[in-house]
């Protein structure tokens, strides 16, 4: 459990504290591209999550909710 919390802490540090530079509003051109979304294809992501949920004992991580099915 302690290792997990350290993992979360490290992650937050990396993600926030480590913000390498302040990015101006006009410097967000690359970030605005379609492929820079963290999930570039929602349809494929949804289909894949359904597959892995049916074949593995883990689920979730990206968001909340979703529906159940009798496949596991």
């Amino acid at each position: 459990m302690k290792l997990r919390l350290m993992l979360v802490g490290a992650g937050l540090l990396l993600v926030y504290g480590c913000a390498v530079q302040s990015v101006e509003p006009w410097q967000r051109d690359l970030l605005s591209e379609e492929h820079m979304q963290l999930v570039p294809d929602g349809v494929t992501n949804g289909l894949d999550e359904h597959i892995y949920f049916s074949k593995e004992a883990s689920s979730g991580g990206q968001g909340v909710g979703g529906g159940g099915c009798g496949c596991n």
Partner: protein
Amino acid sequence: MMRTTLIFTLAMVGYALAGQAPRFSIITDNGQVSSDSLLGKVIYLDFWASWCEPCRESFPWMNDLHETYADSGLVVIAVNLDRDRAKVEKFLAKTPAGFTIGYDPQGEFAKSFGVKGMPSTYLIDRHGQLVMSHVGFREKDKEELRTQIETALHSH
């Protein structure tokens, strides 16, 4: 006495908030344009980029402003912040502008104005005073913006 003091205080606060807009000189399609040369005109200064969706939506509106108020003394300058000029050409080919386009690829001009979001709009009156700053472009903002422009145009 109280009322006079209040009005005076509000005027001072108003002046402090508005204040003098930075003097500038930027490259446009029509050559170098300086704020000094524009004194006496009302300037609608807009910061935009080709990849910014609300910026694209604001172009027809800015075209409309230019057509309606240019004769009354409104100068619309849309300062582009793209680093790649080719993207700007492509954008303007699809969404043409009747108003002046300025170029600030390094973002220095935007920085001097303290641009906080895209698009950012500033209204400078005939005396070079900054009378309005606005971030974003929404349908409901149009009314307010138009009022501010007309007020600035009617003042001397």
